[in-house]
């Protein structure tokens, strides 16, 4: 029992990172219907940007902003100049997966080529420890939780109260209708990628703050739990993703505490496969022709 409560504490931190990353991923998926498997590597790249910032002696807050900005810009460009052209060319869903994996390999190995196969850390002041309710957090981790909450709040306000937010929700719910109503314009899609890209970059930086040392594959290793969060929460449903992040974050840390640390990722794997197979939310159609027949 004594190991479980701190595990829940770790789980909350992991859930915070997963929430930021997962909401970004699910927004991208919901608006453009692309499973962007390069997402984890963009996180890593943002982490390297943050690394460069802190190595130059600048504050970690600046590094967070730089990471988010990088993620935002890079994601918009990636969608504009790689993904969308392929989609317009008629590449089907599986072809797009090959495209995103190719991009993932290119990003990951470019980072490897540039920075080498070393482990890196952000230059940060050494954090203090705080103990509440039997769980131990460093101030950095509390910061991560705070950032996550702030980001989720910002997204909530965006989606509920702004025109852009409503456009994004409409596009995620019914892309064809949104397109024919002129809602899903290129501008809306660009902004959706910019926002989700910012979340991606932010998640990358807080991820490496939490794991203290990172390498070129760190982000990619986090990808499967992120996809699991997006799928469990329902594609394109950010609030579902937030909840799913809590579930998967805490469950995987508990599994690590109860069984062994190696099986931490397996929890996310199994949840992802189970959800995709059992109830992927409207993907497994009951009708043979692939659409609901109403007449």
């Amino acid at each position: 029992m004594s190991t479980l409560v701190p595990a829940i504490g770790f789980g909350i931190v992991t859930a915070s990172i997963l929430a930021v990353a997962g909401v970004g991923f699910t927004l991208q998926f919901g608006v453009t219907n692309i499973l962007n498997l390069a997402y984890g590597d963009i996180m890593t790249a943002a982490a390297f940007v943050a690394y460069l910032v802190t190595s130059a002696g600048l504050s970690v807050w600046l590094a967070l902003a730089a990471g988010a900005a990088f993620g935002s810009v890079f994601s918009v460009l990636l969608n504009r100049f790689v993904y969308t052209p392929f989609v317009r060319r008629g590449t089907r869903l599986f072809g797009m997966i090959i495209v995103t994996i190719a991009v993932s390999l290119i990003i990951q190995n470019s980072l490897l080529a540039i920075f080498g196969a070393n482990f890196f850390s952000l230059q940060m002041p050494r954090p203090a420890s705080v103990t509440t309710a039997g769980m131990v957090f460093t101030t950095a981790q509390l910061g991560i939780i705070g950032i996550a909450i702030a980001a989720m709040l910002a997204i909530h306000l965006l989606l509920r109260y702004t025109k852009l937010g409503k456009a994004m929700r409409a596009t995620a719910t019914d892309p064809e209708l949104a397109r024919s109503c002129g809602i899903a314009t290129d501008r809306v899609i660009d902004l959706a990628w910019a926002i989700s890209g910012a979340l991606c970059g932010l998640a990358g930086v807080i991820l490496v703050i939490n794991v203290t040392s990172f390498t070129d594959t760190t982000g990619a290793q986090f990808l499967i739990p992120i996809v699991a969060v997006a799928v469990l929460g329902g594609i394109g449903q950010p609030y579902g993703a937030m909840l799913a992040a809590l579930v998967i974050g805490i469950a995987s840390e508990l599994a690590a505490a109860i069984f062994s640390p190696e099986y931490k990722d397996v929890v996310a794997f199994v949840i992802l496969v189970a959800v995709l197979i059992a109830r992927p939310q409207g993907i497994l159609s009951e009708v043979a022709t692939g659409k609901e027949v109403a007449a």
Binding site: E286, V287, T289, E292, V293, A294, A295
Partner: protein, 255 residues
């Protein structure tokens, strides 16, 4: 309610999606050797009923019997193997196969389709395939599509795809052909040609159940006619009888 002589009998069929009762207690029978029309306003449940009969959907309740055998709930490939072949409202060609290959796939009882048969090599399955190719070519000639034999099915025009859909269904040697709006989206002259083909087939003894929207077409082709509205059958009989039915008029005005 089993009618002697009926090829297909549907009894109290139900199919719901969530809260929507697409088919809500439909009962009808399809007599052999005729073109039976299935009509009704939008949302009447016609396509759903067809899909359930064909095995593409499972009914939530009810019974379907074919030649006095219960086929309720069978998966679509087993329904097809008994001789009930359906066409799709949206053309479902095998896009990366040629037109001729599309037809060959449909032929039943092919040698060389099982792994051990394939292993026996060309000498085992080639002769039968040659005969099937002949048959397919006759079919193509009949529908004036011989020139398109080696064309990829995905490259055909919309109307040609509808014809391919019909030809493929015929190649499968059906005892009962289920047609889901066979002339949807087809230009009028082609539609009239398809009508003539269907009449010829009916004359040769093929049983058909056809969903159709254009009542003029139904009048020319179908006898009997089954009218559905709101998931159930509200009338059946000849076109003239059904036309005079009060309930039918109400349904079409409302639906």
């Amino acid at each position: 309610m089993s009618e002697t002589g009926a090829l297909l009998t549907v009894t109290d069929l139900h199919r719901q999606f969530g809260g929507v009762h697409a088919v809500n207690g439909a009962s009808f029978h399809v007599p052999p050797g005729r073109i039976t029309g299935l009509i009704g306003p939008n949302g009447a449940g016609k396509s759903t009923a067809l899909n359930v009969i064909a095995g593409a959907l499972k009914p939530t309740a009810g019974k379907i019997s074919y030649r006095d055998q219960d086929i309720t709930g069978l998966p679509s490939y087993k329904v097809a193997r008994r001789g009930i072949i359906r066409t799709f409202q949206i053309s479902s060609e095998f896009a990366k196969l040629t037109v001729l290959e599309n037809l060959l796939v449909a032929a039943p009882g092919q040698r060389g389709e099982a792994l051990w048969q394939a292993a026996l090599g060309k000498r085992y399955w080639r002769p039968q395939e040659r005969a099937m190719v002949q048959r397919a070519r006759q079919l193509l000639a009949r529908f004036d599509m011989s020139a398109k034999e080696d064309e990829y099915a995905g490259n055909l025009s919309g109307g040609q795809k509808r014809l391919l859909e019909l030809m493929r269904g015929l190649m499968a040697d059906p005892a009962l052909l289920l047609l889901d709006e066979p002339m949807a989206g087809v230009n009028p002259s082609l539609a009239r040609r398809i009508e003539r083909h269907l009449l010829d087939l009916s004359g040769a003894g093929l049983t058909m159940l056809m969903i159709e929207h254009e009542l003029a077409v139904v009048e020319r082709l179908c006898d009997p006619v089954i009218v559905m509205a709101q998931g159930r059958v509200i009338s059946q009989g000849t076109m003239a009888e059904v036309r005079a039915d009060r309930e039918v008029l109400d349904a079409y005005l409302i639906g």
